[in-house]
Symmetry: C2
C-alpha cells in the first residue's frame, strides 16, 4: 500500500495541468505541486502555475528557484531566438528551445521531496507524440530515471522508491485536451506559449502555440487562448 | 576526441578534493568546479571548497544555492541528531546523515552545466568501500545516472553524453589519502566533519571523522586535522 501522496511537476502549461488533475481526480492522490522558477524568459509561467495549483485542489504548492539561465545553452533561458512559424514542430531535430537536462534537474528535485516525505509517486506530464523531440520527454529517459530513483535512494533500497508516473506519455495533444476537459481543468488558465506578450497573450506562432492550436482543432473543442495573431 | 573540459563536484571534503586533483593533474582536464550550498548545517564546507578550488587549479568555481533544508529528511540539514562515537560507520544500515537524493540532485545540475558547455565529463568523488552505505555512492547508482545522461540529453542523442567519472569508487580511505598526497592536495584545507565547532575544528567522533582518522592511520600519513577530541 502506498501513502496516497504524490509530487506533481506543474509548469503552467496544458500538459502539466492535465497531469496534475489526473493525479488529484482520477488517481485520488494528495498532491504537492512543485514549480520551478529556473530563469525562463517569462515569469508568467510561474503565475499561471500558482493559479492552476489553487484551482486543481493540490494540498501544497512550492515554487523552487533555480538558476538555469547562468548555465545557458537554451533559447528559453535567453540564448538565441525562439523559432516561429515552423510548419511541423514535431520534426527537424531538437530545437533551440531545448533546455539542457531540464527534466533530469526537475525530477531530481522531485525525487528529493518525494523521498523525504514518504510519497509514493512523482507525476510528470511528458509526452512523446505531439512534442518537439526533447530527449528528456521520451519513455526511455523516464525508465532510466526510474532506475536512478530505485538505486540512488534509501526509499529504493527499502523497496519503496517513488514511482514516476507519466499518464500523458502516449497521448496526442487532442486526446490530452479531451482528458483535461473531462477532468475539469480550467484551460483558460494554462499558458503554452514560449514568448507571450507583456499582457500574457500567446504569440500563436512558436512551436508550443502551434502544437496547442492543432490539439484544440483535433479535439473539436473551442480554444480559450487569446493569440496575438 | 573530447573537449578536455570537465565538471567536478567539490564539497570541501577529502574525497572530492582528491577527485578534483585527479581530474586536473592526472587526467589533464580543464575543470569547472561546482559546490552546492544546499542548506547543510554548517557553511564552512562551502568556504573550504572555495579555498580548495583556488589551490587545485580549477578554471572556474561556482557555488550553487539550493534549498534542500526545506525538503527535510536528513540530520545534515537539521532534522534530528548526527550520530557520534559509532564503532563502525560502514555497517548498520543507512544513517540519519543520508540526504534524500542528494547526489541525484548534484549530478543533475552537473549534467546541465556539462551539456550546456560541451564538456566531456563529470567527476564525482563517490566511494563504496569506506562509506556510510549511502545508496547514491554505489556503482549501480552511477551506472543508472550515466544512462539518464545518455538518454535524457541532446548531447546523449548525438553520442557525446558527458561521461560520469568516479576515480575513487573502489579505493579505501587510506588509498585515497595516499593518492591525495601524490596529487599535491593540501589536506589541511579539507574538512570531513559533519559537525565542526564554530572555529572550524573537527568533532573527531562523527562517522565522517572516524572514517577520516582511520584512513590517515591506514595510509601511515600524519593527519593535519585539528580535532576537538
Amino acid at each position: 500500500m502506498g501513502s496516497g501522496k504524490a509530487i506533481v511537476l506543474l509548469s503552467g502549461g496544458l500538459d502539466s495541468a492535465t497531469c496534475c488533475a489526473w493525479a488529484v481526480v482520477r488517481d485520488g492522490c494528495e498532491v504537492t505541486a512543485l514549480t520551478f522558477a529556473y530563469g525562463q524568459r517569462h515569469r508568467l509561467e510561474v503565475e499561471r502555475a500558482a493559479a492552476l495549483a489553487r484551482s486543481l485542489g493540490v494540498v501544497e504548492h512550492h515554487v523552487i528557484k533555480l538558476d538555469l539561465a547562468s548555465v545557458g545553452g537554451s533559447a528559453l533561458t535567453g540564448e538565441g531566438k525562439i523559432p516561429h512559424g515552423r510548419e511541423d514542430p514535431t520534426s527537424g531535430g531538437i530545437p533551440p528551445t531545448y533546455v539542457p537536462a531540464r527534466n533530469t534537474v526537475f525530477l531530481a528535485h522531485a525525487l528529493a521531496w518525494a523521498e523525504a516525505r514518504g510519497m509514493e509517486a512523482i507525476y510528470i506530464g511528458v509526452n512523446c507524440v505531439d512534442f518537439s523531440g526533447y530527449p528528456d520527454c521520451r519513455p526511455e529517459f523516464i525508465s532510466a530515471f526510474q532506475e536512478v530513483a530505485r538505486l540512488g535512494t534509501k526509499a529504493g533500497v527499502e523497496g519503496r522508491a517513488p514511482e514516476i508516473r507519466t499518464p500523458l506519455l502516449y497521448l496526442s495533444k487532442g486526446e490530452i485536451i479531451r482528458h483535461a476537459v473531462q477532468l475539469g481543468v480550467d484551460l483558460s488558465l494554462t499558458l503554452s506559449c514560449y514568448e507571450p506578450d507583456p499582457s500574457g497573450r500567446a504569440c500563436g506562432s512558436c512551436d508550443s502555440c502551434i502544437l496547442r492550436r492543432r490539439g484544440f482543432e483535433e479535439a473539436g473543442i473551442p480554444d480559450p487562448t487569446e493569440y496575438v495573431r
